[in-house]
Amino acid sequence: MTNMDEKTIRDQLRGYITADLIRDPDYPLGDDEGIITNGMMDSFALAELAVYVENAFNVYIPDPDLTVDKMDTLNQIVVRVMRDIK
């Protein structure tokens, strides 16, 4: 888990979101694209993302931070994960 740079984290999250949440691994997900607000995935995905982020990066995102406002784009998610990564 050490020395993970932003690009590695971003690529891993992008791969997970397109394959598992959007279910289209070839989807060209933009960094600032509203994933939930644009209908690419349902709001259930916030809870799934929380489980994934904990397993993959050992980052626990508390409930008040798991909202559509705060976690709608890849950039928002990457920044939140980077903040707490050890």
Binding site: R23, D24, Y27, P28, I36, T37, N38, G39, M40, M41, D42, S43, F44, L46, A47, E48, A50, V51, E54, Y60, D63, P64, L66, T67, V68
Partner: protein, 549 residues
């Protein structure tokens, strides 16, 4: 008890018992006692009178899941008006589409007032023909008067439940006081409800399961309701279990997808210290029940005290107020393995030990007073283990579809045709599919024709050359939504943008997420002999091309 005015929450002597415990992930818990509740309901009733609302006037309540909406609903009923809960505008919906749909609703149902949020009231009032009141400009009189009491006849319409269609053509299911009270009484018997029960719910109040089981039943029976917002729960599913743990919850209704959602998406550390052993029943309701979902849920939460006998099933619909069946009290739902070929080719549900057998979970037995028949295409009753359309007759049925004389709910001899496909075996009801064109996605009814109309209007799609269908998904425990659409040009770059445009257009007009979009050229879509796009044939073709585990 003759009418909803006799509900225990309004008439019981104990003023300090909790009526509502509202929990949230980002705010302190609010406890509303029966005394608080009565005072608030009377203030709202008086407010509606001051606004000039009369008995039998329709009042639309478009609030997020909150106390104001609940008080307004009961306040309107106290003066004999007819309240109806409606969803609010969310960040996903296109405001214009929502406004148009509200305007259509007001016009078709002749609504006399809308009660909504302060943020939303000014914009909405410019788009509809009836007065719109925001939360803080609602006239709530602090002085309590006794002149507002209206004594309804038990057969009068108490409120409407709106079907969840996304177009302006929602059907308002009109329910009378006596139908609702007798359903609640009989259903309470079926689940052996006692004054010690505590109902815990995240279900939206504009949905029949949320409105009856997760709202009116606890108030009528005088048991506490622990309530949360569906948006809060879906993003933070552990909130439900914290609520059960803290308030010793005993009853909880959930659509099938929620079992998967909780089992797969609650982090271990969020449930480590939670005790769910106070629960009597989780009741799976409002979409097809999957055995795997119950198994997954049990495996994940047995350490927290969930046991197999807690997991029961109900088959329900708004037109019957709510429940049609329930797993017999004290039993575990039966599981029926039936022969796939006999089912598909001969409409028979024959027990089978084959590995390919279809696995169905029983919905239980009819609620007392409910008659159930399985009918063939000519409406003749079928014997046990023959598959046909489920028809029901009961004292809990709707009075009418509100102001829709064109829609006759009953057959000439008084049966309601459900559109669901099923059979009876040893007196228990099994639902095996449906005849109507409907997708149930995460407990929400989605009409494929609504989605097709939205996609047809997207630039680059050939109008009318679109098909939408549901795809069962084991991971989610529900049907996901797939769209196949014919494109007007062959540029792959344009196709990527079209996929996004389709998903955006659908979510903005219906809040529904389309999971799979397939763009095709001329010749892919299968048409019927009359030239219409055949949903089931196209679905079968798509499934062959996209095998899903």
């Amino acid at each position: 008890m003759n009418t909803l005015h006799d509900a225990q929450v309004l008439t019981a002597h104990d003023d300090v018992a909790p009526a509502i415990i509202f929990v949230a992930s980002d705010a302190p818990t609010q406890v509303i006692t029966r005394g608080d509740f009565r005072d608030a309901v009377r203030r709202y009733a008086h407010g509606f009178m001051r606004m000039g609302i009369h008995p039998h006037d329709l009042v639309i309540i478009a609030q997020p899941q909150n106390l104001e909406g609940i008080y307004a609903f009961w306040g309107a009923m106290m003066i004999g008006a007819i309240p109806s809960m409606f969803p609010t505008l969310t960040e996903k919906l296109d405001p214009k589409i929502y406004m148009d749909s509200m305007a259509e609703l007001v016009r078709l149902s002749d609504a006399k007032a809308i009660f909504t949020t302060d943020d939303f009231a000014p914009q909405l009032s410019q788009n509809v023909t009836c007065p719109v009141y925001g939360t803080s400009n609602f006239i709530v009189d602090e002085s309590v008067h006794d002149d507002m009491d209206y004594a309804p006849n038990p057969s009068e319409i108490a409120f409407l439940q709106h079907s969840s269609g996304s177009t302006g053509l929602q059907k308002g299911v009109a329910l009378a006081h006596d139908a609702v009270l007798s359903q609640v009484a009989q259903y309470s018997d079926a689940i052996a409800l006692t004054p010690d029960d505590v109902i815990v719910s995240w279900l939206p109040l504009y949905h029949d399961m949320g409105l009856i089981a997760g709202f009116l039943m606890p108030f009528i029976q005088g048991v506490p309701l622990v309530l949360m917002s569906p948006f809060d729960w879906v993003a933070h599913p552990a909130l439900l279990f914290r609520a059960i743990h803290e308030h010793k919850g005993t009853l909880c209704w959930l659509p099938n997808f929620a079992y998967n959602h909780c089992a797969r998406r609650i982090r271990m550390r969020d449930t480590e210290s939670l005790d769910l052993s106070s629960m009597r029943l989780f009741i799976n309701c409002s979409e097809p029940v999957r055995l795997e979902s119950h198994t997954l849920f049990l495996e994940r939460f047995s350490a927290n005290g969930v046991t197999p006998n807690m997991l029961t099933v109900s088959y329900a619909m708004a037109e019957n107020t709510f429940a049609v069946t329930q797993t017999p009290h004290g039993h575990i739902p039966r599981v029926d393995n039936i022969d796939k070929t006999a089912f598909e080719a001969h409409h028979r549900a024959l027990p089978s030990d084959d590995d390919n057998a279809l696995v169905l979970v029983s919905c239980g037995i009819p609620i007392a007073g409910t008659q159930i028949r399985v009918l063939d295409v000519d409406k003749n009753p079928l014997p046990e283990r023959s598959v046909g359309e489920i028809a029901i007759k009961s004292p809990y049925m709707l009075t009418e579809y509100y102001r829709r004389p064109d829609l006759q709910p009953f057959t000439p001899d008084g049966w309601f045709m459900t559109g669901d496909m099923g059979y009876i075996a040893d007196g228990e009801i099994y639902i095996a599919g449906r005849y109507k064109d409907l997708i149930i996605n995460a407990g929400k009814n989605v009409y494929p024709q609504d989605i097709e109309a939205v996609v047809s209007a997207v630039d680059g799609i050939r109008a009318g050359r679109v098909v939408c269908f549901g795809v069962p998904d084991e991971k989610e425990g529900t049907e996901l939504i797939a769209v196949v659409a014919e494109v007007t040009d062959d540029d792959p770059q344009a196709h990527k943008a079209l996929v996004s445009a389709i998903k955006l257009a659908v979510v903005q007009s219906t809040t529904v997420t389309v999971t799979y979009v397939k763009l095709v050229g001329t010749g892919w879509l299968i048409k019927t002999s009359s030239g219409k796009i055949a949903r089931s044939a196209n679905r079968d073709k798509w499934m062959r091309e996209h095998p899903i585990k």
